[in-house]
Symmetry: C2
Subunit: 244 residues, 2 copies
Amino acid sequence: MRLEAKRGVPGAALYQRIRNDLETKIMSGAWPPGHRVPFEHELMETYSCSRMTVNKVLSTLADAGLVVRRRRAGSFVSRPRVQSAILQIPDLKAEIEKRGERYGYRLLDLQKRNATAQDRIRLGIGGRATVLALRCRHEAEEQPFAIEDRLISVQAVPDVLKQDFSITPPNTWLVGHVPWTEAEHRITACNADNDVAAELGIEPGAACLVIERQTWRNGEPITAVRLIHPGRLYDLIARFTPTA
Amino acid sequence: MRLEAKRGVPGAALYQRIRNDLETKIMSGAWPPGHRVPFEHELMETYSCSRMTVNKVLSTLADAGLVVRRRRAGSFVSRPRVQSAILQIPDLKAEIEKRGERYGYRLLDLQKRNATAQDRIRLGIGGRATVLALRCRHEAEEQPFAIEDRLISVQAVPDVLKQDFSITPPNTWLVGHVPWTEAEHRITACNADNDVAAELGIEPGAACLVIERQTWRNGEPITAVRLIHPGRLYDLIARFTPTA
DNA sequence: TGCGTTTATTTGTCTATACATATTATAGCC
DNA sequence: GGCTATAATATGTATAGACAAATAAACGCA
């Protein structure tokens, strides 16, 4: 059997190169959810390699949940972004309504401003930047449920300026429209001070669950949020089942 | 080229069969962490198939984090169980010591008993069962850090009876020795009552972070625990980065 | 038009072979 | 003993060729 010259490629493994290429296309949004990935025989030509090699790439991408493969139809970028089974980022509005309760929302404050030193620390960005800062309250059955205190990087999410957050909670809009790749949650408990107690309609000193979350897309900060829930009213649930 | 008769195996794909076999051996504990998985050429013989097939099995098991592969040495069942990037189950002792602080531990209560109705609810088991119930305190730099209130199913973890929990915290032992497949966390905040305040050395009414966790192995309940942390002293951090 | 049948295409799995690469074990040397 | 060069071995990557299974699309018929 004749061995091709292409065999001993110098740099990284060909398999890795192809995988990185495709993953970049998917993660960057160049190939949006639902987009059909080239067929195996097309990728064979593109990278001049054997079918087994591109098959392995696509199979592992499918394992990782980035694509869905269908015989005779092709491979497609999958719709539900990664975030399968971890500490999910909930859409509070949807959560409340799912429980059959009346959801209420009130925008308390909103400003677009040049990032202050503190803003830059919270978002973890270096130079100057424009941010949208907002504070709002979520209610379930008329009962205050959470105070949301959020910063959004305008550079990372330009569309945010076109949104009317007096009606749609930023939480809900972001969950539905802005994809992310990394998230970090910091969870702790504190006693409500007078201000928070007033806004949440609880006793000063009552225990509150504080969730601070930051999200990035490919390393670029998107948003940072602090959610304060009355301890009595909120349970955070994180369930993990591996190879679901 | 001669085609072997073995080709068209009737049931599931051979690859799946082998993968299930190995996964069962690992998950059941028959192959404990550190155990050397048979070499590719041994598995070839066992299942009378080609090396590419067993190679694919082992490679995907490695991707899934179940085994670690080392050239010339072989493949080994990996120590840190699945739980790669989710809300991890921390070994409190190790966490404290990693921060360079002095760790202290005190067993407050331990009993082996037939499961009460309440025990069965907490663990989520039906019939009669024996459980180990224990309560202990973790300290960092002499300062109480957490109250751990735990139930362990003796049936699921028989070895638990041989352990001396007056020295080793159950948390630490379980994290290191008992593999799990599913976990659920329920996180909330509460005000310390007098008992808890006394045990944690904080003011009654101070906010506490309460973490309730339950774990299963292939659907069988292993343990249920409630951890109460002084809100002031504890941050739970969950970071998620997909294809690390 | 509507429905069942055939066909073509794509992915899924498997084999046999080849060579690359990392690393452990061994043999040899000072 | 301790160091280094060498050989042995297990995994890593890649190829070409086969056949299986699923199914979308084309076809044919009533």
